[in-house]
Amino acid sequence: MSSVSGWFKERLPFDGSKLQHLTSEPVPYHMKRWWFCLGGTPAYLFMVQVVTGILLAFYYEASTARAYESVRYITEDAAFGWYLRSVHKWGATLMIATMILHQMRVFFTGAYRKPREINWLVGMLILVTTLVIGFTGYSLVFEQLSYWGVTVGGNISKSVPVVGPLMHDFLFGGAQYGAPTVPRLYVLHAAVLPVVLVLLLVVHFTVLRIQGVTDFRFSDEDEGKTFRFFPDHVYTEIIAGLVLMILLSALATIFPAFMGPKADPLTTPEVIKPEWWFMVTFRWLKLMGITAAVLSMGLIVFLMFVWPFVDAWIVRRTRNKEVSTVVGVIAVIAITGLTVWEALVAH
């Protein structure tokens, strides 16, 4: 045994105690509360997405002629294909949901304030990238929702001033939906954007590790009380992972992913609804003209990106740290309201 480890040590002079030092970062005690660990949840779900996504890619065929049939084969014929596809679908839903919860926690605890503005920006980029991965993902099935979702998305991007037409042609691979569209959505969904996401996550975690998690102390905690990242926090994350796996399996079994009607460019569906995370955008679009909606949406997303700096300015001017909380509550009510509105009405 020692000769084997000696053989490796000669070639890979790695010091185990350094790893121990790296992983035994003391974690503040408030991290024992689960809502402070919501950031690890989408990270775990992203790993689930990568694994199930690679498995699905074994059968998926990225062409307008074969996409629907290959997804049907996965869903109806391949062994456990229905399970893997459903886990992939529910994994995406939960990933976005937990990411939004994580962002809300960071927002309402003011964890984006100095010196953590950079990580808020990186986090926003992660959120936007994830939403685009979700959008390109459901576009690959080539059912009616996929086709008309991409068509609506293309029209929205087209109405962005200056760069719009260029973005539209890039997304479609031409002036309209055609043979190059599905392969390029697939490359974006399965190669380009996941790599971008991994790089953003590396930056996110590195900045987090350098700065440490935000200090908090609840009234029932002793001053400076900490626990170790490894093994204590890692155990918590493993348990969270198992619970998520059970939840995903249950959702996949009880509400599996079905095949919608195949994409038909000649038949515009009576009612078209995007996935829930785009319902707020969709309702916003219906409330005003497309250019006004796109510009105001762009302004809102821009404000979300630069909120740490806006907040710092407000605090400097008003000496009131609670303005941000009020803005956050209004934003949550507005987003939830628009989403529920879109979900409930037919048109």
């Binding site: 035994s24 003391p26 694994v51 498995l55 074994f58 059968y59 049939e69 084969y73 014929d77 391949a78 062994a79 456990f80 294909g81 399970y83 893997l84 400076g224 009380k225 900490t226 626990f227 170790r228 093994p231 204590d232 155990y235 493993i238 348990i239 198992l242 796996m245 059970i246």
Partner: protein, 202 residues
């Protein structure tokens, strides 16, 4: 900053049975959970399930007399020739073969007097099981694909893979007459296609 409050280092040689139990339980849970997932993934990668098939009605057995054949087109457009070889009324007394010659795609027909299938384009011949016996198909070792048949209550059904089948029903067609020289769809495919579209002959 104290960092060891949650998991104090155990004394050497002493293992807390409660901690050991919970670790074993957790390890078993992890192994079972992710092991099951891995098993699903491996099963998924080996598509063992046969493609789904469906039975399509062809004709009453009496509609195909012994030694005669009928042409059948599936809803997906595949052409099949169904021949009654025996006097009995069981599925074994019939044979269903793809009627598209594997050589260049002409339609083969049944020659009862010669007990063979014949392709008029380049004199390809096949025995009653669809095996190539002469002409270019025999030289290339290309035989006619065979389809399973089922007889239920004297009704003849053909078993077809569901994949690739368009919605709708297959149809029995009038026997195609043997075409002589000058009407060879392999040699004059465009003329033949144009004529077919016009509803006449090339």
């Amino acid at each position: 900053m104290s960092s060891d409050e949650q998991s104090p280092a155990p004394e050497a040689g002493h293992v807390d049975p409660k901690a050991l139990g919970s670790r074993l339980l957790m390890g078993a849970g992890l192994a079972a959970g992710y092991g099951m997932f891995a098993a699903y993934a491996v099963r998924f990668l080996f598509p063992a399930r046969q493609p789904r098939t469906t039975l399509a009605y062809v004709a009453h057995v009496d509609e195909v007399p012994e030694g005669r054949a009928l042409n059948y087109t599936t809803s997906g457009g595949r052409k099949i020739i169904i021949t009654r070889l025996g006097r009995g009324r069981a599925a074994d007394d019939f044979v269903a073969l793809g009627s598209t010659c594997p050589h260049l795609g002409c339609q083969v027909h049944w020659e009862g007097q010669n007990d063979r299938f014949f392709c008029p384009c380049h004199n390809g011949t096949f025995d009653r099981s669809g095996k190539a016996t002469g002409g270019p198909p025999a030289a290339a070792g290309q035989s006619l694909p065979k389809y399973p048949l089922v007889v239920k209550d004297e009704l003849l059904f053909i078993e077809l893979a569901e994949e690739g089948l368009a919605a709708g029903e297959g149809r029995v067609e009038e026997p195609v007459a043997t075409r002589g020289p000058g009407h060879d769809p392999c040699l004059y495919p465009r003329a033949f296609e144009d004529a077919r579209r016009r509803g006449g002959r090339a």
